[in-house]
Amino acid sequence: MDTLLDVRDLHVEFRTRDGVAKAVNGVNYSVNAGETLAVLGESGSGKSVTAQAIMGILDSPPGHITRGRIFFQGADVLSLHREARRVLRGARMAMIFQDALSALNPVLSVGDQLGEMFVVHRGLSRRDARARAVELMDRVRIPAARQRVGDYPHQFSGGMRQRIMIAMAMALEPDLIIADEPTTALDVTVQAQVMELLAELQREMRMGLILITHDLGVVADVADKIAVMYAGRIVETAPVHQIYQRPAHPYTKGLLDSIPRLDQKGQELYAIKGLPPSLLRIPPGCPFHPRCPMAQEVCRTDEPPLYEVGPKRGSACHFWKETLGG
C-alpha cells in the first residue's frame, strides 16, 4: 500500500507569555491511501495541533514547528514554498472542523463557501461553481439543495451544517481528509448519521482519513488503526481490534475502561484519576506517571521509548508486557 502521509518526529511548541507550551513532542504516524487512522486522547494532548501542522494552518506566532518532517505523497511539505503549500490545501488535503457553526463564515452563503473551492482551485465561473455547490449538497444528502444553496450557515441545523463542512472538504476529492472531532458538537442522534456519511464518502473516494476524537466508541467501526496521544506524544499505536482486546499501555487501558458498556450498567465508570499535565511543565520520565496505577520508580526518571510490542504495534510504557498480560 502507498504511504500517503508520513509524520516523523514532529515537535510543535507555542511560545506564549506564560512560557513555552510543548504541545507536540515527537509524534510519528502514517496513513496509507484509503486507510483510516483514529487519533485518540484527552483534550489538550496535541491532536489538533498535529493536524494543524500537517495542514500548514498553525497559528504562527505563537506556534512553531521546532523539529520533524511531514511527507505527503513523498514530498517533504515543510520545505515547500508557501504558494506550493497553499495549492495542496483544500485540493489534495482537506480538513473538517469540530464546530461547523463557527468554522463556516457567518456572512457568506453556503453556496458561496462551497463554490469558492472550484473558483479558486479550478478556475470555474461563479455560475458553474454554484452548480457544483448544489451537486455537493445533494451528495451529502441535504434536502432541497437547489433551494437552500443561497442560505447562510445559521439557517441550517447542526447536523446539516456539519454535512456542509464535509461537502466542502470533499469538494475537490482530496487524497487526505483530517476530521477533527467531526461529531463532538452534535446531538447524539445525529452523530451516527454524520459519521456514517463521512465513512461512506471516504470509501467511495478511497481517501486517507485521520479521524481525531476523544470518543473511543466512535472509532471501533470505522478505523483501521489507532494512535493514542498523551502530552503531545504517541503512547500507543495498534490495529484497531487488537487495542480493544488487549491494550499495551495503562493510559489506553484507562480510556477503554471509561467507555460506558451495556453489560456493566450500574457499575461505577472507571475514569483516569487526575488531570493531564501542564504543557509548560511536563513531568520528567514517563509523562503519565503521576496518574498511572502501575508506575514504578523508573517511570519517574526514564522516559519510555515507543517499544515495538508486536507486528505494527507500539507502546511507550516500560511495563508494556505486564499491561498486555493483565
Partner: protein
Amino acid sequence: MGRYVIRRLLQMIPVFVGSTFLIFVMVYALGDPVAALFGERAPDPATAAQIRRDLYLDHPLWQQYTHYMAQIFQGNFGTAFTGQPVLELMGSAWPLTIRLTIVAIIVEAVIGVILGIITGLRRGRSVDTGVLVLTLIVVSIPTFVSGYVLQFLFGVKWGVVNPSVSPAASFDELALPGVVLALVSLAYVTRLTRTSIAENTRADYVRTAVAKGLPRRRVILRHLLRNSLIPVVTFIGTDIGALMGGAIVTERIFNIHGVGYQLYQGILRQNSPTVVGFVTILVIVFLVANLLVDLLYAVLDPRIRYA
C-alpha cells in the same frame, strides 16, 4: 422588513418631537427674538407687537411650537436676520455641508479602514505602534487647533491650497477642510477596524478559509474584512449626523457658508427661525442615517433579521 421600517419610522416621531421641542425651548430661552431682530435700535412698540403675533409669541410655548412645526411642514421656515427666508439660506448652506461631509466620510472610511487593516494584521509591530500613537494624538487635539494648524501649514506656509474656501466650494477645495472635519473620526475608524480585524484573525472561519487553500488576499478581503467591517460601517453611518453638526468649527475656520456657519450666525444674532430650522433638519438627518445604518446592518450580517 417592511413592517420593521414602518415601526422604526413611527418610533422616530416621539424622538423627533422630543428633541425639536427641547431645542425650541432652549432657543427661546436665549432671549427675546424680537429685540434681537432689531439689534441696537429700540423697536416701535406697534411693530414689535405685530411681529410677536406673527411669530405666535403671545401664545404659550407649546402652541408656539406646534404652530412653528405646522409652518415647517408647509415649507415655511421663517426669515433670518438678514430678511432672507431661512429656506433660501438652507438652499445655499446644505449643499456645501453635504459636500464637505461626503469628503470627510470618504476620508475617514478609506484611510481609516486601510490603516486599521494594516495595523490589525501587524499587531505589536512598529507600524502598529506608530499609527496607534498618532491616533491618540489626533483624538486629543481639538478640531479648532488641528484645523488652524493645517490651514496655516498647507494654506499659508506652503501655499498648496487656498486657506479660505470660495463660495463655489468645489470638491478639491474641500479636501483639506474634509480632512480636518474627518480627523477625529478617522482615528476612531482606524482603531475600531484594527480591533475588529485583530479579533477576527483568530476566528475559526478564517482558519477554515486558510485550510481551504485560498490565497491570502482572498482570505483577508473576502472572509476577514467582510466580518470585521460590520461595526465599522455602523460607526461611519451614525457619524454622518455628528460630522454635519461638528462642521460648525471646520466651516468657520475655512469660511465655508454651510450649515455650521449659518447655525453659528443664527446663535450669535439670536435668530430663532434659523437655529431651530437648521437643527430640525439635522435631527431628521440623524434619525434617517440611524435607520439606514440598521438596515445596512441586516444586509451585512445575514444573522440579523428584522421583523
